[in-house]
């Protein structure tokens, strides 16, 4: 028989109620602050690229092609004389417009599948696990390639394909979270009060499991961006002249000996983006629920 303490404090870290508390904690950690600044900066660039980009992304000046950094073209030009800086800035929008919907839709679909599997259990659950296992057995890029080959390259298809590649992880994580939530006695207490399954799942369990899923999302976005870049690099993603970073890299490689600058700068911005999102996501995860560190892992 356990002995109660007169004023019991939560055994977990105290629950944060409200975004402001989370935000404050985030800012106090260096990794979180840096991550936040980078992500916010990228979002601003994506929304209003025109404010920051000195040139149009497809404005060509053949006479200035393959130049290094200069006063006029801060990051140099590519093989068609287009300003690299501007193309990279417009590329932010492309990257996010692919990554965000892809990951978000993967989350929603994965979440629904995970909930259904965990709640029903039995055959449905077993079936889902098998399907997700099969999907996850393929490296994401290979899977994306194969599906793109079927569907044909386009922006829309890239989003679909990346989403499909990411669904299994959300499905598994949601399933695990719902299982552990289901085991709580307060779920049973709700049932005893007469709550229907639907109500318990959507009014109670969902709010409890969404925070970790959002954090997963924050950490999957850079993966999605890199996959998109990879696909575009191979020419299977967005088609030219859309300034996807992958396309910029691909173009840059053709003339890498004469002018390595495009490749260098495109790589750098990819790296900063990945770093920014990862730092933000991991710090958020540590603040909200450190136990998640086992569930979040890199996928390529």
């Amino acid at each position: 028989m356990a002995i109660a303490t007169p004023n019991r404090t939560s055994t977990r870290r105290s629950r944060l109620h409200g975004l402001s508390a989370t935000l404050q904690q985030l800012i106090h950690r260096p990794a979180g602050l840096i991550g936040l600044i980078i992500v916010v900066g990228l979002i601003i660039l994506a929304v209003v690229p025109g404010v920051f980009a000195p040139f149009e992304p497809d404005a060509q000046t053949i006479s200035d092609r393959l130049q290094g950094p200069s006063v006029e073209h801060l990051l140099g030009t590519d093989r068609l004389g287009r300003d690299t800086l501007s193309r990279l800035i417009y590329g932010v929008g492309i990257a996010l417009i692919v990554a965000l919907p892809a990951v978000l839709s993967a989350l929603v679909i994965g979440l629904l599948l995970g909930i259904v599997a965990a709640w029903r259990g039995g055959l449905i659950d077993a079936l889902l696990v098998i399907v997700m296992d099969v999907l996850q057995a393929f490296p994401a890029v290979i899977l994306a390639l194969a599906l793109l080959a079927l569907l044909g390259p386009s922006l829309r298809n890239v989003i679909i394909v990346i989403s499909i590649a990411f669904i299994p992880n959300y499905a598994r994580v949601s399933r695990a979270l719902v299982f552990s939530a289901k085991a709580n006695q307060w779920v049973e207490a709700e049932r005893a009060l007469g709550a229907s399954t639907l109500r318990i799942v959507f009014t109670h369990i969902l709010p409890n499991i969404l925070p970790p899923l959002f954090i997963l999302m924050a950490m999957d976005i850079p993966s999605a961006i890199v996959i998109e870049a990879g696909l575009s690099f191979l020419g299977l993603g967005v088609q030219p002249p859309t300034p996807s970073w992958g396309a910029i890299l691909s173009d840059g490689f053709q003339n890498i000996i004469q002018s390595p600058w495009a490749v260098v700068f495109a790589s750098i911005i990819l790296m900063i983006t990945t770093l920014g999102f990862t730092m933000l996501g991991e710090t958020l995860r540590d603040i909200v629920d450190p136990r998640l560190s086992g569930l979040t892992r890199r996928r390529w």
């Binding site: 356990a2 019991r8 006695q185 709700e190 005893a192 009060l193 007469g194």
Partner: protein, 348 residues
């Protein structure tokens, strides 16, 4: 329908867990295994009565409470509530029943949703059932019913003391104006004085709201204070039932005697230490209970000819039933020292 005197009637109720036979088992024609957590229990609970269910771990007492409330599916037998057989009720039927029969869970904190404030927890039943405003208790009223101040309304469960959390759980069950409440270890995890307050509260609530209780506990002293009738469980079966005072004064099953000898009672004169051990060995696994009388492997009164076949719970005195064929010898056992004064000298 006229109100039945017996609010709850349980007949031959069994709940078996883990009864799935694998393919290999089926091929080998192995009998269905599984744990018979509740095995053929028959019990009645009258209106406004408090029945205490006592047993140790593995006795099945919690499973019995949950099966009555439909939280665990019964495998066989029936549960009748106010004259209606509810054993195989549909989801819709349960929804209506939930308003009339409720449960107080064992862990005071675990049964409260961690992200909801107290006020939200208390109004949750109304939101679930869409209760019209005229039929709702206010949060302040519910808190007052359990002797809590309205200051507690904005707190989260982890900010409450054990006793307070327990009371919130009780208040929540009262919201729907139930007739029957199953209280599972209502004082677990509480200090002595907090536990006393909860027991007093349950008494008051029974009177104020005409409630009927099934109190499940491992501490028989709690029941001697609180319950009108007592039922003792061992390995899934009821082995003795009766009016509390009768069972405590004249326990007639060897296990009941052993249990009473084992539970310490405030005893300044040290009478209890004079007891010899009335129990042998360890409790058998519920997966594989002994054949015949389940208690025979530990019983000091066991006799091969009488105990190989399972005894049936039968009445030995008005309102007092025992599942043991050797009960006359048990009652006359000189080893037993009753710490109770003789029944007619009681001043209650």
């Amino acid at each position: 329908m006229t109100a039945q005197p017996n609010l709850i009637r349980v007949e031959g109720l069994s709940t078996v867990f883990g009864d799935q036979r694998s393919l290999r088992d089926r091929l080998a024609r192995r009998a269905a295994g599984g744990v018979r957590a509740v095995d053929g229990v028959t019990l009645t609970i009258a209106r406004n009565e408090i029945v205490g269910l006592v047993g140790e771990s593995g006795s099945g007492k919690t499973t019995l409470g949950r099966t009555i409330l439909g939280l665990t599916q019964a495998t066989s037998g029936t549960v009748t509530f106010d004259g209606t057989d509810i054993t195989h009720s549909s989801r819709g039927q349960w929804s209506a029943l939930r308003g009339r029969m409720q449960m107080i869970f064992q862990d005071p904190y675990a049964s409260l949703s961690p992200r909801m404030r107290v006020s939200a927890q208390l109004t949750e039943p109304y939101r679930i059932h869409g209760t019209p405003a005229s039929e709702r208790y206010s949060v302040a009223e519910l808190l007052e019913m359990v002797n809590l101040s309205s200051e507690q309304a904005d707190k989260y469960p982890h900010e409450l003391s054990g006793g307070q959390a327990r009371r919130i759980g009780i208040a929540r069950t009262l919201a729907l104006r139930p007739e029957f409440i199953v209280a599972d270890e209502p004082t677990s995890g509480l200090d002595v004085s907090a536990a006393a307050a909860i027991l007093n509260l349950l008494q008051d609530l029974r009177r104020e709201f005409n409630l009927t209780f099934l109190v499940i506990t491992h501490n028989v002293n709690t029941l001697s204070y609180l319950s009108d009738r007592l039922a003792v469980m061992y390995l899934g079966q009821l082995i003795e039932t009766g009016v509390t005072r009768d069972v405590l004064a004249q326990p007639s099953h060897p296990y009941t005697r052993a249990l009473l000898a084992a539970v310490p009672d405030i005893d300044p004169d040290g009478l209890q230490t004079a007891q010899t051990e009335l129990l042998r060995g360890e409790i058998p696994s519920p997966r594989n209970p002994p054949s015949g009388c389940r208690f025979r492997t530990r019983c000091v009164h066991v006799r091969a000819d009488k105990c190989q076949t399972a005894p049936v719970l039968s009445e030995i005195a008005p309102g007092h039933a025992v599942a043991c064929r050797r009960w006359p010898e048990v009652q006359q056992d000189p080893e037993w020292v009753s710490s109770l004064p003789p029944v007619d000298a009681s001043t209650t």
